[in-house]
Symmetry: C2
Subunit: 304 residues, 2 copies
């Protein structure tokens, strides 16, 4: 028997990482509709948006409005991506109770983006974490490109660990490894996850895979075999690769849930409802997205 967890928690990132890569700006009411549907379907972690400059990321301009709308929701973790203290102030103001910080494990990438080393970036996070904690907001962190970067190619374990250490130093103990460049491969995912879980036994790990080169599902399998139980996915496979125009996006939520259902690994999520929401989202963005189950249906549906 393959050694696998019996239950997995998914975080839906379609409304953030997915829509951020779309030309279409979905209106707030549509986002509310999808979020309600996803909560009804059983999702317990949803990334609603980000508190960035609306001029830079217009797709996320209504993140505050979404958090205001859902401020009474219980038992569902609604989170937002935050870049700095100004973002935390917005989070405090609109009732967001969980934020995610981000830094790249790739020195070249982080320097190109904000002219800081990863450690300098995280040192700046201290004030964000402080304000968040004072305001009762939980903080998680993500690390981009631990599995490979367009700048350096492979990333050393030392570079990754120094970022994890920096996160721990500012009090962040929930960390996501994000393969936004789609360069991760299964044996690497397995080895790295095994190692990091042993070295940092009190960290809660998430994995975030893009299906850029078709390996996301295999990487999720490898992550589960290494004992990881928290994964990001995106409704309809919405998203893209910031470095490859036209490439596939995040792994599709319905594809992941379908595989887990068929493997008898529990997610607590109703796949039929998710497929219906994913179709709606695909209609709204106005083009086909990288989803298999939306095209082929569930294996179950095929049975006469």
């Amino acid at each position: 028997m393959m050694k696998l967890p019996t239950a997995i928690t998914l975080c839906e990132v379609g409304l953030r990482d997915g829509l951020q890569n779309e030309a279409t700006i979905l209106n707030t009411q549509s986002k509310i509709t999808l979020t309600k549907e996803m909560i009804a379907a059983g999702l317990t972690v949803i990334e609603l948006g980000s508190f960035m400059n609306p001029k830079a990321v217009p797709q996320m301009a209504d993140t505050d409005a979404l958090f205001f709308h859902f401020s009474e929701v219980k038992n569902v973790e609604l989170r937002a991506l935050v870049a700095n203290k100004k973002g935390v102030e917005r989070a405090v103001n609109c009732g967001c109770r969980k934020i995610k910080l981000n830094v790249s494990a790739s020195l070249g990438h982080n320097l190109a983006n904000i002219n800081m080393t990863p450690e300098e970036s995280i040192a700046r996070f201290a004030e964000s974490v402080e304000l968040a904690e004072k305001s009762g907001i939980e903080v998680s962190g993500s690390i981009s490109m631990p599995f490979g970067s367009p700048w350096e190619g492979s990333i050393s374990l030392d570079a990754i660990q120094s970022i994890i250490d920096a996160y721990l130093k500012v009090g962040v103990r929930e960390i996501s490894l994000s393969d936004a460049s789609g360069m991760a491969v299964p044996n690497q995912v397995y080895t790295m996850c095994k190692h990091l879980q042993e070295r940092y036994s009190d960290v809660k790990w998430w994995l975030h895979f893009h299906n850029t080169r078709g390996m996301a599902m295999a990487n999720i399998l490898a992550g589960m075999q290494a004992g990881i139980t928290h994964f990001d996915s995106s409704l309809g496979g919405l998203g893209g690769c910031p470095f490859v125009p036209g490439a596939a996006g995040n792994v599709a939520s319905e594809d992941v849930i379908h595989m887990l259902d068929e493997m008898n690994i529990s997610t607590g999520i109703d796949l039929v409802q998710i497929i219906s929401s994913a179709k709606k989202l695909q209609d709204w963005v106005g083009h086909e997205t990288d989803s298999y189950v939306l095209k082929a249906g569930r294996s179950k549906d095929l049975i006469k």
Copy 2:
């Protein structure tokens, strides 16, 4: 470390299972060009076509001509799918030296197709095997839908084993498990492959996955972890699902080779040449196919 083989052999099925699902009939010269390129790229097993009734499968009408053309090729296994003795006679005549028989593990499927039980089908293979062996043609067999069928849903291990036993009885010791309905999931693939390899230690196993529900790469990973070292794949991801119009086809050769390259698992195949051939094939069939690496390029290509 994840337990994995160090080397994998791929069989290219684009010219058969891929083209068979295409409206475009590729001309013989184009097939010859692609085959030459694939041999030059390092492929050592290629399914050139099938000896079926050309009226039923017009895309494969020139299979004899292809085998005539390549009759002098050494060190590359060129094989064809064969349905009956008539097909073997064609194989003998055109110099084909390796054939593959096929039967479904799904009783409903086999009855619907040819109104015979799987065991009755294989009993009929005896005359084909006899003629082939007398003519120095090697015979392999494939089993459709061992991982699930649109007719019965799950297929019992007993049903699969009775087919394997029937194959062994007529002297076929090389067997492919073919997930043409795209219903296989990784933990099932792992468990079944482990079991079958233990029970039938002298069988040479192949796995054939379609990416219908996005799980082909994860299934290949699971197969490798179970010790399987022979997999089918299709240039450009050409093909389809016979039961789901518009669904994704066979797993793309370039996606599989890319993943194996990046995992340091040897295939002996030059990925750059394969990408070039896959692009050519995509141009010739005139539409995008389900290939990731054709869209995104290799991970290596991304590195600045």
